[in-house]
């Protein structure tokens, strides 16, 4: 009965008026940036992180989480109506969604995307509630050695799933570790890599780093291109899918939810991969695979369900183990720590209002999103006609203001701009920023657990392979690295990536 008590408590927290308000603000902003191409949830959450300093941790996480899963809803609108993805996770939705819009079926496409998202999102939350407690029990057995190996495995999986080069992704994880260690060493009190700048004693802030790598660099890349958008449909009608649509979509939504949930728990898996997988699966099981890419509703329902289930499942490792599975979760982890909340398996026990409050708010948020994305779809359609030339200066300016107000520091502004330029160059040369930010967030935890492990073992590194759970994590990591190097498997991995790209 514990679970029911907790759920009731969670809802009583989530229904407090300011949590409702911030939940709404979160999903509203999420939908907004989801609809607008060129600004992702990571950048937005980083930009808005400073705003949350003045509010309680529960409210802050409720809002930031809302931005994340809200963006999964919004992204599909642009994919369907404009034919370019609003978010990376809705890339596949452009295939059949846009085709449906061209055939005058924009309404059902948007409708099934929203309903599929809602169903999958809600089921994802149920999974989150049921899975977290057992996982916490398991994690409480972890010592520093297990934690260290688990984090290493998380980073390796993330880099393994990198779209381009795994070597480059691993390198970026290394760079992230270094950046995360800048500042005073908590154990010895020695300043590290501060380059003579006293302001860096506290380390490089997550806000300027994430805003630079994800927000500013995105702007710099986008202004190089002529972004032309033409909205296919000015007024959307018949949003409710008919009986036939539902019949065709039920299977894809169910499978998509399952795929999304399983992929979402994996470190580095996330929403993008899950939507691709779901599309591939639907095409394979379909009796008429030739309909795909020509406006098959299954190609919208499956991936859209999948990315929402994945976005909810991604919270499981963060809230139960304290380990973020993606860059977005890294930002949330940063937010928790800024608010003085210690993430980890004790979070559920020590901060029950936070855990259950946030989970309950996701139910409410999903309902709000359904309303925002169906009856109010017209607003978003109109928003799509705002040109990028008006939008990006505003985004740039909000980023500059946000980076400044955290510490009233000009240095932070230069850091953000500097990381923006570095991020721009990184993307030009196909170095992915996600492993960097995740390693940056994990660096302090990783270092502490490494040191503690070595102190316990008296300097013997075999502690990581003599303890069974730790050994398991290390073996998985090693296998992944080896498999990426062995030519036969490497070519198979590239084949899969290529195939996914081809199908898109």
């Amino acid at each position: 009965m514990d679970l029911i008590d907790n759920i009731v408590m969670g809802f009583s927290v989530a229904f407090q008026w300011y949590n409702l308000l911030f939940c709404f603000v979160g999903v509203l902003i999420g939908t907004l940036i989801g609809v607008l191409p060129g600004l992702g949830p990571v950048g937005t959450m980083a930009i808005l992180l400073p705003i949350t300093f003045g509010i309680s941790p529960v409210t802050a996480i409720v809002m930031l989480a809302g931005i994340y899963y809200g963006a999964q809803y919004g992204g599909s609108t642009t994919s369907i109506l404009v034919g370019i993805p609003g978010e990376a996770s809705s890339v596949v939705t452009t295939l059949d969604g846009y085709e449906m819009a061209k055939q005058g079926r924009a309404g059902p496409a948007l409708g099934i995307a929203a309903f599929g998202s809602f169903i999958a999102g809600t089921l994802g939350i149920v999974g989150l509630m049921l899975m977290s407690a057992p996982l916490v029990k398991f994690a409480l057995k972890f010592g520093p050695a297990e934690y260290f190996s688990l984090m290493v495995m998380g980073l390796v999986i993330l880099t393994f799933l990198a779209q381009k080069s795994m070597v480059k992704a691993l390198m970026m994880a290394g760079v992230g570790l270094i950046l995360g260690l800048v500042g005073l060493d908590n154990m010895t009190g020695l300043p590290r890599f501060i380059l003579g700048n006293a302001e860096l004693l506290d380390g490089i802030g997550i806000a300027p780093l994430a805003m630079g790598l994800f927000g500013i660099s995105e702007i710099l890349l986008n202004v190089e291109q002529e972004i032309k958008r033409s909205v296919l449909v000015k007024r959307v009608k018949n949003l409710l899918p008919n009986k036939e649509d539902w019949k065709q979509s039920t299977g894809p939504i169910a499978r998509g939810t399952l795929i999304g949930f399983l992929v979402g728990i994996l470190p580095g898996g996330g929403t993008v991969l899950s939507s691709f997988l779901s599309y591939a699966v639907e095409k394979r099981v379909s009796r008429h695979p030739e309909r795909f890419g020509k406006g098959a509703i299954e190609g919208v329902a499956g991936p859209e369900a999948s990315n929402n289930a994945a976005s909810q499942a991604g919270f499981i490792p963060l809230l139960s183990l304290g380990i973020p599975a993606s860059a977005v979760m890294g930002i949330l982890l940063g937010a928790l720590m800024i608010h003085g909340v210690q993430p980890g398996p004790l979070l559920m026990k020590n901060e029950p209002t936070l855990f259950w409050g946030v989970v309950a708010s996701m139910y409410i948020g999903n309902i709000m999103l359904l309303v925002l994305n169906l009856p109010l779809i017209g607003i978003w359609v109109r928003l799509l006609s705002v040109p990028y030339s008006v939008l990006f200066p505003i985004i740039l300016f909000i980023a500059l203001t946000g980076a400044y107000v955290v510490n009233n520091s000009t240095l932070d502004l230069y850091l953000m701009l500097g990381f923006g330029v570095i991020g721009y160059l990184m993307r030009k040369f196909e170095y992915e920023p996600a492993p960097l930010i995740l390693a940056y967030v994990l660096a302090p935890l990783l270092e502490i657990s490494l040191r503690q492990s070595l102190i316990i073992s008296g300097g013997d590194p075999s502690i990581f392979v003599t303890r069974p759970i730790s050994l398991f994590f290390i073996v998985v990591s090693a296998l992944l690295v080896i498999s990426a190097v062995v030519p036969a498997i490497r070519s198979r991995r590239q084949e899969i990536v290529a195939q996914a790209e081809e199908e898109v």
């Binding site: 400073p50 705003i51 300093f53 003045g54 509010i55 080069s165 070597v167 480059k168 691993l170 390198m171 290394g174 760079v175 570790l177 270094i178 260690l181 060493d185 154990m187 020695l190 590290r192 890599f193 702007i219 710099l220 890349l221 202004v223 190089e224 291109q225 002529e226 030339s389 008006v390 200066p393 505003i394 740039l396 300016f397 909000i398 500059l400 203001t401 946000g402 400044y404 107000v405 009233n408 000009t410 502004l413 230069y414 701009l417 923006g420 330029v421 721009y424 160059l425 030009k428 040369f429 170095y431 660096a443 990783l446 270092e447 490494l450 040191r451 070595l454 102190i455 008296g458 300097g459």
Partner: protein, 153 residues
Amino acid sequence: MNAQRIVSVVWFAFGAAVAYESLDLGLGEGGEPGSGFMPFIAGLFVCAMAVIVFLQTFVNQELKLSTFAEHWKGGKWHRAIWIVLLSVLFIEAMNVLGYFVSSVMLLVIIMRYLEHLSWTKSIVVPVVTVAVTYLLFSWMLDTTMPRGILGLW
């Protein structure tokens, strides 16, 4: 010159510099790793990965053909440079002219001269944006922005 190769050399230099600095910080004794231990490993790791990418540029077809010109082909890259320069100007101007004036100026310049929007749009949008943002941040965070010599916000 191969662009990917040059980039890998830059990363190698970064990793090597970090590893070298870490030696100064102290690697510590076996049972008690020092401040330099973790960054030393991370620095060497970055170096090792950079070496692999460097070698790949001789084998991998795609990396082999990478040139700077190809990476910037067709893009209006000068616009990206303008954005960075204007942002630097904004940061420097903020302490002199104050937050309000420098923000509005930044937005007006970008919208009017980089994006060629109409004067009306280029003035109305910035003023409204700056006012709303200022109110939001000062209300939520109770923060004060630089007022500058004009004494405006």
